[in-house]
């Protein structure tokens, strides 16, 4: 997974705002990448481009050595469904559904999984993340850390190669922060690329690569 000369510009009241300036980065499996930076530095824009939720103004995005910079919306959705899992600060869980039902949602579009297998796969994933006794609980009945683990289970359910986490510990206490970073670190060792955008310094202790985003410029800080 590689970004080459990525620029992102917005027009705001006829002023051109450059959010990302010549971003070049390569991600490799089995690694945990942390991108830190102040609010407004361009981290979230980068995450959106990496997650195919937004398009760069210029530059190239390679995935599996294919340039996917200007694919159709449907083709991008296909890539997201198969290869990318998202984890967000606000969890994005459906409060009316149980943990199990939330985790099962991505399986509906996985043609390789039969209907009768969905429940078992989702149950196994939740058990793996230590939520075996929370399967039928709704998000409001879970702690923040548990909710985020449900979100991680959902991100992992279709076995994607890339996990993108945007401020995954933003709503958690210290104990849960550590737990989540540990989990993400473990996930990265399963031949996956884990990209975490955060301004939580705890992430430094867990990441393999540390990058800093400053005014749209991405700089490697530590390898």
């Amino acid at each position: 997974m590689k970004l080459e000369h990525i620029y992102k510009e917005y027009n705001l009241n006829s002023n051109k705002i450059i959010v990302l300036k010549d971003v070049n980065i390569e991600f490799k499996p089995n690694n945990f990448y942390a991108i830190m930076g102040r609010s407004g530095s361009g981290k979230s824009t980068l995450v959106n481009i990496l997650g195919l939720l937004d398009e760069a103004s210029s530059g190239n995005y390679y995935l599996n050595e294919k340039n996917i910079s200007s694919l159709s919306a449907d083709a991008k959705s296909d890539i997201i469904a198969k290869q990318i899992g998202f984890v967000f600060q606000s969890f994005y869980l459906n409060n009316s559904l149980t943990a199990l039902e939330n985790v099962m949602l991505p399986l509906y579009i996985n043609k390789g999984v039969k209907k009768e297998e969905r429940k078992n796969i989702a149950t196994s994933m939740l058990k793996k993340l230590g939520l075996s006794d929370r399967l039928n609980h709704k998000p409001k009945e879970l702690s923040g850390g548990e909710q985020q683990r449900v979100a991680i289970a959902r991100a992992l359910i279709n076995n994607p190669k890339i996990i993108i986490a945007d401020e995954p510990t933003g709503n958690l206490d210290t104990a849960n922060e550590i737990e989540i970073f540990k989990t993400l670190k473990d996930i990265s060792k399963e031949n996956k690329i884990v990209i975490v955008v955060s301004h939580n310094p705890v992430v430094i202790d867990y990441c393999d690569y540390l990058y800093e985003m400053n005014d749209g410029i991405l700089k490697e800080v530590r390898r």
């Binding site: 939720l53 959705s77 997201i80 990318i84 559904l97 991505p106 579009i109």
Partner: protein, 410 residues
């Protein structure tokens, strides 16, 4: 993705916004029911009016003023015109029906009956036995009220005439002679046996309970022999001078054609019974306007619900995007969600409509003034509304799922 999966996801969406879904379903159910009732009411009234105009033969009778001409000459002239749709020409209104006494061997039938000829254009709804095939046969109202009042609708005292099918009844009448000085003397008393071959539903046929139709030739003979005999021809002419000739038409809708033909041939005509269909027209107009209002109002309501759904479900839509659902699929899930709710409302209303019909029919049946009104059920409005709302849902969702909106949510 399989349709069962789409349905499951739509169901999960409904679960997510249970209260909204309930309110939406309730409103749509109310509209479905209202449209069902409006169209059924309109159909009931129209069909009643249609039945009324054709079953009550008085509405199919044209009156012809004979002026100074001789009655027999005018009848012959009209017959010679061979105007289509005329089924019978009566010399005057005293020939159109007659009232006689009625009895039977068992002596449980004793009272008064109205007799009508079974001419073409006379319609009744047979509910047992068969139709009249030859002279001397009669088809009578399925209920008979014994006594001197023929039009009492107290059902508890009525005799079931269906039990008399295949048996004989006797009609008794007296022909009398009338003199200038006002005196009358009885000339002949007739006791005519008639075989009851069938009965008709007198409520649906819009007659009273005590009525019988007899074969055409039998009726003509009864009229001939029951007509008073006057002292002389001048007296007869004097008695009948103000009475018009009556022309019975086969169908109500053919009445204007016959009237037109008669007028073209120089006859002054009028209607025996004038029918005012204004209430039917007004009801039909009200139904049309209300239906149009419901249809237009529904688009607004559906639009508002969908708009609110989007506002409240932006996170859900974003989530679908994050997990790789395509735009088409997300749209489809929401369309199925709302179509499912619409369909549930449709089914519920469709089940409740016949129940309401049954209740109203029972109330009407037990009310003598309304028992002739047969409640009809019409699903046309309900079906049209289902198609209309489903199309509205599809159009509105596609509008909301425009690229611009999707980008806004992302």
């Amino acid at each position: 993705m399989k349709i069962t999966d789409i349905l499951s996801l739509s169901y999960l969406n409904i679960k997510t916004s249970k209260f909204k879904a309930f309110i939406y379903g309730l409103i749509l159910f109310f509209f479905f029911l209202l449209l069902g009732l409006l169209f059924s009411g309109s159909k009931t009234i129209s069909s009643f009016a249609d039945r009324y105009t054709n079953t009550d033969f008085h509405y199919k009778v044209a009156m012809v003023d004979i002026g100074d001409a001789k009655r027999e000459d005018v009848i012959k002239e009209i017959e010679s015109l061979n105007i289509p749709h005329i089924s019978k020409i009566f010399s005057s209104n005293i020939d159109i029906f007659t009232t006689t006494k009625i009895s039977n061997v068992e002596n449980d039938i004793n009272g008064i009956v109205e007799l009508y000829g079974n001419y073409q254009g006379i319609e009744y709804v047979l509910d047992s036995g068969r139709d009249i095939e030859e002279a001397g046969e009669a088809v009578c109202a399925s209920s008979f009220y014994p006594g001197l009042l023929s039009h009492v609708n107290d059902k508890s005292e009525m005799i079931d005439m269906k039990t008399k099918v295949g048996k004989d009844i006797f009609i008794k009448y007296t022909q009398y002679k009338s003199f200038f000085n006002g005196e009358t003397i009885d000339l002949n008393t007739y006791n005519v046996p008639l075989k009851v071959v069938g009965t008709f539903d007198w409520e649906k046929s819009l007659t009273g309970s005590n009525a019988c139709y007899v074969a055409e030739e039998t009726f003509d003979e009864i009229i001939k022999t029951s007509r008073p005999v006057y002292e002389n021809a001048e007296m007869e002419e004097d008695k009948l001078k103000d009475l018009d000739i009556l022309v019975l038409v086969d169908k109500y809708e053919n009445l204007p054609i016959v009237l037109d033909e008669l007028q073209k041939n120089g006859y002054e005509t009028s209607l025996y019974y004038k029918l005012d269909l204004t209430p039917v027209v007004v009801i039909e107009k009200v139904v049309t306007y209300l239906s149009i209002s419901i249809f237009i109002g529904s688009v607004f309501i559906v639009y508002q619900f969908i708009k609110n759904t989007y506002r409240e479900n932006v996170n859900q839509i974003k989530l679908y995007k994050f997990i790789g659902y395509k735009k088409k699929l997300i749209t489809l899930i929401f369309i199925v969600q709302y179509s499912l709710l619409t369909f549930i409302s449709f089914i519920t209303a469709s089940i409740i409509l016949p129940i309401i019909r049954l209740i109203v029919s029972n109330i009407f049946y037990n009310n003598p003034n309304l028992s002739a009104l047969e409640i009809k059920l019409s699903y046309m409005g309900v079906n049209l509304y289902l198609i209309f709302v489903t199309l509205a849902i599809i159009i509105i969702f596609f509008r909301f799922m425009s690229k611009k909106n999707i980008e806004k949510w992302s």
